[in-house]
Structure formats: structure tokens, C-alpha cells
């Protein structure tokens, strides 16, 4: 399965220490603009930026160039998306990917308008756990990290924690 991802998800999954497990399981690409958004953190020595740079150098994560400039413009102008998020949506619509990974509120909303079901970081952690790519302890730790960060509704993380615990 090929998945195109945005900067928020790459940053969150790196923080939760599950990005490499995801790359071993699924083929992950980021548009060039998204790569730039993540790598920006390198100056401040952000872990996610340094890790992403290494993963791209090691060819574990791929950079994709978006050809459909017209849909890019549409996403930027009509839906208020930044360049990176617009590239994720436009890239998905080029038909090479089976999954769109975004934890960006506006990106998720726009995806749903186009009948695309967006994947989120909690979905990835749960998917990895259910596919036996993460053990219970690592999945719980990753979910606790997401909760601590405060990016998701607490009820969602609680639900996922119970699922993993019963898993």
C-alpha cells in the first residue's frame, strides 16, 4: 500500500517513535513541499526533522513531485490549504496512492469533501498494533505520547488505549 503523508503526521509519528515501524510496513511518500516543512526544524535540532532527513537519505521514505498544478492551485485558493497540504491532496488525486495520511484539521476536512477517507496518526498506531508490527507496550506508549502532546480529542485516545489493552 502506498500512502502520501503531510508534515503534521510525520512529525507526530516521529515523536511517538513509530515512524520507522510504519515505513517497514507501508510505502510512505511525502511531497517535496512537505519534506521542506519537516526539515525546517533541523535548525532547531528537532528530532522529527533529523530523523526524516536520515530516512529519506536511506531511501526508506520517498519524496514525490506533484504534476497536477491546476488542482494544487484549486486547493490553495478555494480551501485555504498551505502548499504542503495542497500537494498532499493533489498528489493523492493523481491516483498513485491508496492512502492519504494527515492530522491537519483543514486537510482532513478537504479530503472528506473529495470523498477521500483520511488516515490519522492514531489509526497508524492501531493499524501497526493489529498487524502485529507493534507490541502492546509500544502501542500504549505511542498513544500516551499522542495524548501528552494534546493534538487529539482525549476521548479518541482513551478509546484507542482501551482497544490496545484489550487487544
Amino acid at each position: 500500500m502506498r500512502i502520501i503523508a503531510d508534515a503534521c503526521s510525520i512529525i507526530l509519528l516521529a515523536k511517538a517513535s513509530v515512524l520507522e515501524a510504519l515505513l517497514d510496513w507501508r510505502d510512505i511518500s511525502v511531497p517535496r513541499e512537505v519534506y521542506g516543512e519537516v526539515i525546517e526544524g533541523k535548525e532547531k535540532k528537532h528530532y522529527d526533522a533529523l530523523l526524516t532527513e536520515r530516512l529519506v537519505k536511506d531511501k526508506k521514505m520517498h519524496i514525490t513531485d506533484i504534476k497536477n498544478k491546476r488542482s494544487l492551485k484549486r486547493f490553495e485558493e478555494s480551501y485555504g490549504l498551505g502548499k504542503g497540504e495542497a500537494e498532499v491532496l493533489a498528489g493523492y488525486l493523481e491516483g498513485k496512492f491508496q492512502g492519504l495520511l494527515t492530522d491537519n484539521k483543514q486537510g482532513r476536512k478537504t479530503a472528506k469533501i473529495y470523498n477521500i477517507h483520511p488516515l490519522g496518526s492514531p489509526d497508524v498506531i492501531m493499524g501497526l498494533f493489529k498487524a502485529k508490527r507493534l507490541n502492546k507496550e509500544k502501542a500504549m506508549n505511542a498513544l500516551h505520547t499522542l495524548r501528552k502532546y494534546g493534538w487529539f480529542e482525549n476521548s479518541l485516545i482513551e478509546y484507542a488505549l482501551v482497544e490496545v489493552n484489550n487487544g
Binding site: 512529525i11 516543512e37 525546517e40 526544524g41 498551505g82 492512502g99 491537519n104 483520511p118 487529539f152
Partner: protein
């Protein structure tokens, strides 16, 4: 330094006190203290405007980050600190897992 402009302004004693405090804390003259306050205040205002647009669903986080002059990473921290969530629900999570597992 670039060309400077002169203008006079009336401020109340409380605001003057703030300038004095910054001047003392940063060990700079009043003019430099005013510059610091304008710079910080402007950045704060840009961040609040960008955050409001993101919270209201008008723009995406990366666009908000650009608007505020921050990186995506920094903007995520700011949004999380204000309790702004992605609004992903349990049904979204269930569907996402199904897609990932290819079922």
C-alpha cells in the same frame, strides 16, 4: 541600521512603566525597549490571527505557520497548547484502521 523615522506619541503611565521595565531588564535605552516591545507584540498578533484562522477552519496548519512566521513544528506546539484538536472521531479511527489493514 536602516533609515529611522521620528514620531511623537502620548502613552499612559502604565505603558511608560512597561517601557521602563523592559529597558531595565534588557539593559537597553527606552528606544530599544520600545523596538523590542513592538517586535514581540507584532509577532504575537500575527500568531493570534493565524491561530484564529486555523481554529475556525479557514486555513490549514502549514498555511497558518507561514502566516505566523513559524515552522509547522512550532505551530503544532502552539495549537496543541491552546487545546485545538484535529477533531478526528472514533468512526474515523475505525475506518482508518480498516484502510490500513486493507480490509
Amino acid at each position: 541600521m536602516a533609515e529611522t523615522k521620528f514620531f511623537g506619541a502620548r502613552i499612559d503611565p502604565k505603558e511608560f512603566e512597561i517601557i521602563e521595565k523592559v529597558s531595565k531588564e534588557k539593559k537597553v535605552d527606552r528606544t530599544s525597549a520600545i523596538r523590542i516591545l513592538i517586535d514581540r507584540g507584532w509577532k504575537g498578533l500575527q500568531l493570534e490571527n493565524a491561530m484564529e484562522d486555523y481554529r475556525d477552519g479557514k486555513i490549514s496548519l502549514d498555511k497558518a505557520a507561514r502566516k505566523a512566521g513559524l515552522t509547522v513544528h512550532e505551530m503544532m506546539n502552539e495549537a496543541a497548547a491552546r487545546g485545538i484538536t484535529t477533531e478526528e472521531g472514533i468512526e474515523d479511527l475505525r475506518n482508518g484502521i480498516k484502510i490500513l489493514l486493507g480490509s
